[in-house]
Subunit: 393 residues, 2 copies
C-alpha cells in the first residue's frame, strides 16, 4: 500500500548548468541503481541542513567540513544507497573523504567542493572500492537528462522515485527519498534542491535553505523518528534573478515533502494537518506536528474514523495554550467539534471523506490568533508494524 500523488514522470528536466546520473555499482542486491551524482558546470552556492540526532553518519561530518572550507561552494554531490556509513567510526569518515577526493580528482576541483551522502543500513563499512570503481562511468553518464536516474539511485524503501521540477522566472528541480526512518536499521530522509536562481541580496544560500525547510521538510513526519543521516542540500547557480525564488523553491519543497508522507511505509492516506488561528507560525507548526505524530490520530485515519477527540487531545498536549472550549476541529468538509461540543450529525460526512478520498484533511482552529501552518503525514496501518517488526526475521 502506498499513495502516489501523480504518475511517475518519464523525464524531469534539470536547471541549466546542472547534470545528473545514476548507475548500479553493486550495493543493492537486485541490480537496481544505487550510486547517484549531481554535477554543476561550475562551482555553485550551496547550503545544507543536517539531522539533529546525536548519532550522525560519517557524511554529515564530512559535508560540514567541506562546506566550511569551500566557503559554501559545490561542484559535485555523490550519493550512495544501501549503506549509511554510520556507526562506522573514524574509518567511516576516512572512507567518505576518500570517495570525495577520488571524485574531485576526476572533476578537477578542490576536494572540499565535493559532497558525499549515504543512506541505507547502519553499522557496515562503506564499500569504497565499488563506489570509486564506478566514478568514471558515473561521470560519463552525467547529463542534462539524468534526473530520473539520480532519483532512482537514491531510493531505499521508497516505492517510487521522487523528482519534481518547477519553471518560471527560474528553474528548480528537487529530489527526495524517504520515507519513514525505517529501513533496515533505519533509513534516511535525503533531499536535494537545484536551482538556477539566485538568493536575494542579503540572503545567503544557507539562509534561503533554512527558510524553505522550515515550511516544507520540517513539516513532514512519518513516524517521528529521525535518522542519523537526514540531510537536505540546496545548490543555487544564480544564473537567473527572481524576487520570489524563496517562494518558488518553498512550493517545490512542499510538494516533495508531501510525496515523502504519501509514500510512508504502509500508508493508505496522505494526511494534511491544517492548523489555523494560532498565535504564530511556530506554535501552529508545533500543534500540527503533535497531531501528525499521534499514533491515536494516525490509527483513527487508518480506520476511517473521524475521531475529533483524538485530534483535539493531541493538539492539547503540544505545549501550546489555547481554550479548548473555543477551538474548532474539522475532518475534510465536516465540522466535528466547535462551541465546546462535538457534532455527531456531521460525522457521516467526515467518515465519507476519510473513506473516499486518498488525500485527507484534518484541521484545528485554536482561536487565539491568525497564524497557520500545514503539516503532512500518513496514516498508521498494520502494514507499518509488519514491515518494521519483520525486517530482519
Amino acid at each position: 500500500m502506498t499513495v502516489q500523488l501523480e504518475p511517475t514522470p518519464d523525464h524531469v528536466p534539470l536547471p541549466a548548468g546542472f547534470r545528473a546520473a545514476g548507475l548500479h555499482c553493486g550495493l543493492k542486491k537486485n541490480g537496481a541503481l544505487d550510486l547517484g551524482l549531481l554535477l554543476a558546470d561550475e562551482p555553485v552556492g550551496a547550503g545544507a541542513i543536517y539531522t539533529q540526532n546525536q548519532l550522525v553518519g560519517a557524511h554529515v561530518t564530512v559535508c560540514r567540513d567541506h562546506l566550511a572550507r569551500s566557503g559554501g561552494l559545490v561542484r559535485a554531490v555523490l550519493v550512495n544507497a544501501r549503506n549509511a556509513n554510520c556507526a562506522t567510526g573514524e574509518q567511516g569518515i576516512a572512507d567518505a573523504r576518500h570517495c570525495c577526493a577520488q571524485l574531485a580528482a576526476r572533476v578537477r576541483c578542490p576536494v572540499e567542493q565535493v559532497l558525499m551522502l549515504s543512506t541505507g543500513p547502519i553499522g557496515a563499512p562503506l564499500p569504497t572500492e565499488r563506489i570509486v570503481g564506478h566514478l568514471d562511468a558515473l561521470l560519463e553518464h552525467a547529463s542534462i537528462d539524468g534526473a530520473m536516474d539520480f532519483a532512482r539511485a537514491i531510493m531505499t524503501t521508497d516505492t517510487y522515485p521522487k523528482a519534481l521540477h518547477a519553471s518560471g522566472m527560474t528553474r528548480t528541480t528537487g529530489f527526495a527519498k524517504g520515507s519513514g526512518m525505517i529501513h533496515p536499521n533505519m533509513a534516511t530522509m535525503l533531499g536535494f534542491l537545484l536551482t538556477d536562481g539566485a538568493a536575494t541580496p542579503g540572503q545567503s544560500v544557507p539562509q534561503l535553505l533554512r527558510a524553505v525547510a522550515d515550511r516544507s521538510f520540517h513539516r513532514v513526519t512519518v513516524d517521528g523518528d529521525t535518522s542519523p543521516n537526514d540531510t537536505l542540500v540546496l545548490l543555487a547557480s544564480g544564473r537567473t534573478r527572481s524576487a520570489d525564488l524563496e517562494a518558488t523553491v518553498t512550493r517545490l519543497a512542499q510538494r516533495l515533502a508531501r510525496t515523502i508522507a504519501a509514500d510512508g511505509e504502509g500508508a493508505t492516506r496522505l494526511v494534511t494537518i491544517e492548523v489555523r488561528g494560532a498565535r504564530d507560525e511556530h506554535e501552529a507548526t508545533l500543534v500540527g506536528r503533535t497531531i501528525a505524530t499521534s499514533p491515536l490520530v494516525k490509527t483513527a485515519v487508518a480506520g476511517r474514523d473521524p475521531n475529533w477527540g483524538r485530534i483535539l487531545s493531541a493538539a492539547g498536549r503540544a505545549g501550546v495554550a489555547f481554550p479548548a472550549e473555543r477551538a474548532r476541529v474539522w475532518v475534510g468538509p465536516a465540522d466535528v467539534y466547535s462551541g465546546g461540543k462535538p457534532h455527531p450529525q456531521n460525522e457521516p460526512a467526515a467518515h465519507r471523506h476519510l473513506t473516499d478520498d486518498t488525500l485527507v484533511t484534518l484541521g484545528v482552529d485554536l482561536a487565539v490568533g491568525t497564524a497557520s501552518a500545514d503539516v503532512w503525514t500518513c496514516d498508521f496501518t498494520k502494514d507499518y508494524v509488519q514491515i518494521n517488526a519483520d525486517y530482519r526475521s
Copy 2:
C-alpha cells in the same frame, strides 16, 4: 494479547481507616462494575496531579477547586467509568459538582472534601441520575474488603484489575487503570494511592505525591498520547510514622506503573528502558521516554529484533547531548553496541532474550555522568493498530 506480571489476587487489603466499594450503576453495557468509591473514616491529607492537556475533563476543574477550598483534605473519592464527562462544557462541571454534593450530604462532610473522577468516552453528558441513584448502595457496600471491587469498577480497556498493597512500618494500597490513552475516544490513566503513613515534616502530601509520580507514573508510556482526564490521587491518613514513606509509596507506584505498560493494548512484552551514565536524572528520564515512545523501537520488540541502531538513534534525538561513539547499548544480557561499533556476534543472545522473556530490557549508557532512570513501556503490535483503527466501525 497482554502481559500480566502476577496473578490477579482475590483480595487486597486497605490501610487502616480506609474503605472501598464498587458496583454496577448501568454505565457499562455488560453489567460490569462501573462506579467506585474510596472512603476515609475522617478527613485525610490529599494531593492530586492532573493531565497537562489543554483539553481537560470536568473532573479536573472540580478536583482542583475542591482541594483548594478544603485545604487539601478529602473524605471520599467517587469514580465512574464509561463516561469521561469531557468536552461537556459548563453542564459537565455542574454535573460533577452535583454528584459530589449528593455524596457529601450522605457522608455528612463539606462538599469540597469529596473528589469525583471520570473515565471513558468523551463528549457525552454524564448520566448523573444513574450515579446519584446508586450512592446509597455504594456507601452501604463500602468496607475494608472492597479494594478489588473498586479496582474492577474503574477498569475500561484494562484486561485485568490493578490493585497492589505494600505493608511494613506503614500500609499502602494503590490502584490504577490504563492503559493506552485509547478507548473509545481515548481512555485515561487514573491512579490512586492510599496510605496510613504521614509525609515527613516539611513535606506536604502534594509534594510527596509529586516526588513519587516523577519516579513512577511519569515514567510509563504506552503510546505517547495523554488524555484530558489523567489524574493521580494520593490520600495519606498519617496514622503511622515512617521515615521512608516516600520510598515505600514510590516502589508501590512503580509496580502499578509497570502493570499499566504490561497491560498496554496489544502488548506482548513489558519493556524496561534502562538509561545509565546520564548527567542527571531528568536527562536520563528524557532519553528513556524518547526510546519508550519510538514506534521503531517498539515495533522492533514486537518483531523480536535486537535493533541497536533504532535504540541509539532514538536516544540521539532526545535533546540530550552525548558522544555516540562512547555510548553503550544492551538488549537483555547482550552488549550489542559499544566502542563506536555494533557487535553482531552478540545479537543471537539478544534475540533469545526478546523471544523467550516476557519482561524485556533495553539499555543505553550515555557515558556522560552517573545518573540513571528506568522507563516502562510495551511493544507495538498489529493488534494495537487493529484495536485503535476499528473501535467505532
